[in-house]
Amino acid sequence: MTVVTDAAAEEGGRSGGSPAPSGPATQSGWKGRDRVLDFVERYALVVLFIATFVFFSVWSKTSSTFPHATNIKNVLGGEAYSGILALAIMIPLVCGEFDFSVGNNAGLTQVLCAGFMARLGMPVPLAILLPIGIGAFIGLSNGNTVARIGVNSLIVTLGISSVLLGIVEWYTNGQSISNHISPWLTNIANDEWFGLPVTLYILAVAAVIVYYMLEHTPYGRYLYSIGSNREAARLVGLRVERFVLLAFVLSGTLAGVAGILLVANSGGGNPQAGQIIDTLQALAAAYLGATAIKPGRFNVLGTMIAIYFLAFTVTGLSLAGVADWINSVFDGAALFVAVLVSTIIGRRRAGTS
C-alpha cells in the first residue's frame, strides 16, 4: 500500500525497543498542529488543482480558451483513457507490484479492436470484448510470472511492454487502421449525456468499481495488506500468490478497456498510441494520488484528482503556447515529485522516520 512498505517493514523489524511515542504522548499528540498538517496533506492536491484551474482561467494568455465548456469537456472526456490506465496501474501498486505494460497493453488492444472490425469484420461487441480478453490474458501472463515464479514485476512488465510494442508494429505494419470502424464506437467519444462526455461516465463507472473493490471488499483489504507486509500477509492466512495474480489480471483487463477508449477517441487503431509514456503518466497519477485524500495509500479518488490535475495543467500550458517539450518535462517532474512526496508521507505515517 504505501510506497515505502519494504523499508518500513524492515526498519520496524529492527526497532525492537521501538522508538515510537508511548501511551500518553500519542493520545494527546493528535491535536492542533498535527490536525492541521493532516488536513493540508489530504487536500493539498485538491487545492493545487483548484489554484491551477483558476490561474489558467484568469491568465491573459489562456483566459479566452481555457475556462470554456468545450475545452473542459474535451479534457474531461479525452482523459478517460488516461484515467482508466491509471486505475489499471494502481491495482498492482496497491499490493506492491509494478505493471509497466499497461500503456502498451492498451496500445495492442486498440489496434486489435480496430483490426478486428476493419479486417475481419467482426461484430462490434465481439471486436470490443475479445481485445479486452486479450488484455486480461496479458495480465494473467504477467501475474503468473510475477506471483508464482517470483520474478521482479518491473522487469517482467517492461519486457512484455516491448514485446507488445513489437506485435503492434507487426500487426499494423506501422499504418493506422481507420476504415470500417463502427461509428457507434467512435460516437462514444463525441456524445454527451446530461451535458458531459460519455467517456467520462465510462471512467466514472470503472473508478467506482475499483473503489468498491479496494475499499469495500475483503479482496481490496488483502491487497493493501500484501502491499504493506507480504510475509505478515502470508502468516495471517492470505493466499498471497493468488491475490497478486488476480491484481495483474484486473490491471490487464482495465488496460484493455483503455485500449477500446483509444479507438473511440481516435476513430481507429493508431500504432503510435498506447505507449510507455502513457504508462509513466498513469504511474505519476497513481503516486500523486497517493499523496492526497488518503495520504500514504494508493486510492482511487486521489488518483482521479491527480489525472485531471495533470491533464488540465498540460492543456493550460499548451493553450498558452508553450513548447511541446514542456509537457514531457512536466509529466516527468510530476512523477518524480509524486513519488518523492508519497514516499516521505508514507514513511512518516508508518513511524519509521
Partner: protein, 533 residues
C-alpha cells in the same frame, strides 16, 4: 543484587602498567571498557559495564538474549554510540564511548567478524579478501590477478587456512568460510597480531564438527599472540577455548571468570542469575487431560523427530536456543513450514494442513517471533491490523462492514489494554508493547483453540509484558491451549504448566510444575550432550 558478581573483576584496571608507558612489557590490557552505559528509549541495554581483555588471550562474552552483548559489540564497532561517560581503551589509546565510529574502531585496531560474515559466496576467496579494500590495478585499470592471488595465498598461509585463493567461497565448508572472514578482518593489521579480533557469535550457524575446526583455528591464533574477544552462547566452546569470560545479564556485568573458574555451573549461575521481580499473572492450571494437539516424529528444517502433546487449557513452554528449531516447530504446526515427516493431530484427528488457512480453520493461531517482518502491517491502521486475520467475517451482503470493523477495533483497544489515540492510528507509530498487543488481539479475537506464541514479549517493556501475559492467561482460562516459545527462561518458569527442552532437533527433556526453573532450563538448553540417535 547481582549475585556473586563483582568479586571476579579483573585486577588489571588502570594500574601501573597503563601509567608506565614507553618501553617495557606490553600493556597488561589489550582492550578495556570502562563505565559503558547505553539507554534506548524505554530500555537500558547496558548499565555501567566495565571489563578488560588481556593481550594474547581468548576472552568470551557470554549472556542470555537481551543481556546486552550485541549492544556492546555494536558500540565497539561504532554502529551505536554509547552514552556519555563511558570509555573504550585499546592499547594506550582511549576513546569516549559516545564518539565511536566504524572508522575510529578500525583505527584503534578492532577487527570485527559479525554473526553472518559478509562473505560473497559467488566470488573467489581472493576476491573476497580484497573486496572491501579495492582491487590493486595496473595503470590500464585491469586487476593484478597474479599479485592478488599471491597475497591471498600468503594470508591464507599465515592463518593456516587450507583453501586455495581461486576457490569459490560457496564451495567452502562453513568453518572455512568463517575463517576466511576472520582472515579478511585481520589482513590489514600493521604488525603480526596487533589489535583485537572481535567475533560476534561466530559459531551460531555452524554445525558441531565445524565449530571444533573453527575453535581450533582461534586457539592457534591466540597461541601466536592474537587477542580475541568472542561472543557466544555455546557454553562448551567457551569452556574449551576461553581464558577469561565476562558474563552479562540485564545489561550489567554479572561476573567475570578466569581459566579453571569457567565451568558450566558457574556460567549458568551468572547467565540465569536471580531474576528481576516481574509481575506475572497466575495462570489457570491445566485442568484437563484431553490432548488438543499431538505431534509425532515431526521432521523438517532443523527438527529431527519431535514428539509432543499439548493438553486443553495448558501452557506448554518450549525451551531452546536460537537455531534449535523452536520457531520452525511452531510454523510447521501452523502450516507455514514444510513438514518432511511425522504426523500432527488436532483433537485426536490426524491433520495435514495444505496451507495456513487450513490451520486457522482448525482453530490454530500463531504469533510470530519477528513482529516487524512477520506480523505487523506497520503502514496500516490499528483497525486494519486487528482484523487482518478475519476480514472475511465482515463481508456481508456484498459490502465490507467498515463501520463494524472500526467499532470492533475500538472495542478491542479497550479490552486488550492497547494504548492508542484511535483505531485509525498507524501501527508503526505504536510502541513495541502496544504493537504486540494488537497482534495478540488479532489472534485471540478469533478465539483459537491452540495458540502458538513465539517470543511474545520480545522488545516489550516490563509492564506491557505483564499485560500481555494477563491477556494470555484470560484466553487460557477460557480453554485455549498455548504452546509458548521464549528464550526468557525466567518468564517460561513463571507461566508454563509444563516445559520441554528442544535441542539437537529433538525434545531432550520435560519438566513440570516446580521443576521448571530458570537455572535448570538454562542448563538443559545449553546442554552439550548430544542425544544419542
Amino acid at each position: 543484587m547481582s549475585g556473586p558478581g563483582e568479586p571476579g573483576q579483573v585486577p588489571s584496571g588502570p594500574g601501573p602498567a597503563a601509567d608506565g608507558t614507553g618501553a617495557g612489557p606490553p600493556p597488561a590490557v589489550a582492550l578495556r571498557i570502562d563505565h559503558l552505559s547505553k539507554n534506548f528509549p524505554g530500555t537500558r541495554a547496558l548499565d555501567d559495564v566495565s571489563m578488560a581483555v588481556r593481550p594474547g588471550e581468548i576472552h568470551a562474552l557470554v549472556g542470555g538474549n537481551g543481556s546486552g552483548k550485541s549492544t556492546l559489540i555494536k558500540i565497539l564497532a561504532g554502529v551505536y554510540h554509547g552514552d556519555p561517560g563511558g570509555t573504550i581503551t585499546v592499547g594506550d589509546t582511549t576513546l569516549a564511548a559516545d564518539h565511536t565510529t566504524p572508522a575510529k574502531a578500525r583505527a584503534l585496531g578492532l577487527h570485527f567478524v559479525h554473526q553472518n560474515p559478509a562473505v560473497f559466496p559467488a566470488l573467489s576467496v581472493a576476491e573476497n579478501m580484497v573486496i572491501g579494500h579495492g582491487f590493486e590495478t595496473r595503470p590500464t585499470g585491469s586487476i593484478r590477478w597474479r599479485a592478488l592471488r599471491r597475497q591471498t595465498q600468503a594470508l591464507l598461509d599465515r592463518f593456516e587456512i587450507n583453501v586455495r585463493p581461486d576457490t569459490l567461497v560457496n564451495t567452502l565448508r562453513p568453518a572455512e568460510r568463517a575463517m576466511v572472514a576472520i582472515a579478511r578482518a585481520l589482513q590489514d593489521q600493521e604488525g603480526q597480531h596487533t589489535g583485537v579480533l572481535v567475533l560476534d557469535e561466530p559459531t551460531a550457524s555452524l554445525p558441531r564438527a565445524e565449530v571444533v575446526r573453527l575453535m581450533g583455528a582461534l586457539n592457534r591464533f591466540a597461541a601466536a599472540g592474537q587477542t580475541i574477544l568472542f561472543v557466544s552462547h555455546r557454553l562448551d566452546e567457551v569452556i574449551d577455548t576461553a581464558t577469561e569470560a565476562t558474563v552479562l545479564r540485564d545489561g550489567r556485568v554479572a561476573g567475570t571468570l578466569r581459566e579453571s573458574e569457567i565451568t558450566e555451573d558457574r556460567l549458568i549461575e551468572y547467565i540465569a542469575g536471580r531474576a528481576l521481580d516481574r509481575m506475572y499473572p497466575v495462570m489457570p492450571t491445566a485442568s484437563s487431560d484431553d490432548v488438543v494437539l499431538e505431534a509425532r516424529g515431526l521432521v523438517g528444517g532443523p527438527l529431527q523427530g519431535v514428539d509432543l502433546q499439548l493438553r486443553r487449557g495448558e501452557v506448554l513452554g518450549v525451551a531452546g536456543l536460537l537455531g534449535s528449531g523452536r520457531s520452525e516447530l511452531l510454523k510447521m504446526i501452523f502450516g507455514a513450514y514444510a513438514i518432511k515427516g511425522g504426523t500432527l493431530a488436532v483433537e485426536g484427528r490426524a491433520v495435514k494442513f495444505r496451507d495456513i488457512g487450513d490451520a486457522m480453520a482448525a482453530g490454530i493461531a500463531y504469533v510470530p517471533e519477528d513482529r516487524g517482518t512477520e506480523a505487523a502491517f506497520l503502514s496500516q491502521t490499528l483497525a486494519d491490523n486487528v482484523v487482518a486475520s478475519s476480514i472475511s467475517r465482515y463481508w456481508r451482503a456484498l459490502r465490507l462492514r467498515n463501520r463494524t470493523i472500526d467499532s470492533d477495533a475500538r472495542d478491542i483497544i479497550g479490552r486488550y489494554l492497547i494504548r492508542a489515540s484511535s483505531e485509525k492510528q498507524v501501527m508503526g507509530t505504536l510502541s513495541g508493547g502496544n504493537q504486540q498487543k494488537v497482534i495478540l488481539a488479532r489472534w485471540l479475537s478469533r478465539r483459537p483453540r491452540i495458540l502458538l506464541l513465539d517470543e511474545p514479549t520480545q522488545g516489550v517493556d516490563v509492564n506491557a509484558r505483564a499485560e500481555i501475559y494477563g491477556l494470555i492467561s484470560q484466553a487460557v482460562g477460557q480453554g485455549c491451549s498455548v504452546l509458548l516459545v521464549t528464550s526468557d527462561f525466567e518468564e517460561l518458569s513463571r507461566v508454563a504448566d509444563r516445559a520441554v527442552v528442544l535441542s539437537g532437533g529433538r525434545i531432550t527433556a520435560e519438566l513440570r510444575g516446580a521443576d521448571i526453573e530458570p537455572v535448570r532450563l538454562t542448563e538443559l538448553a545449553f546442554s552439550t550432550q548430544e542425544v544419542a540417535s
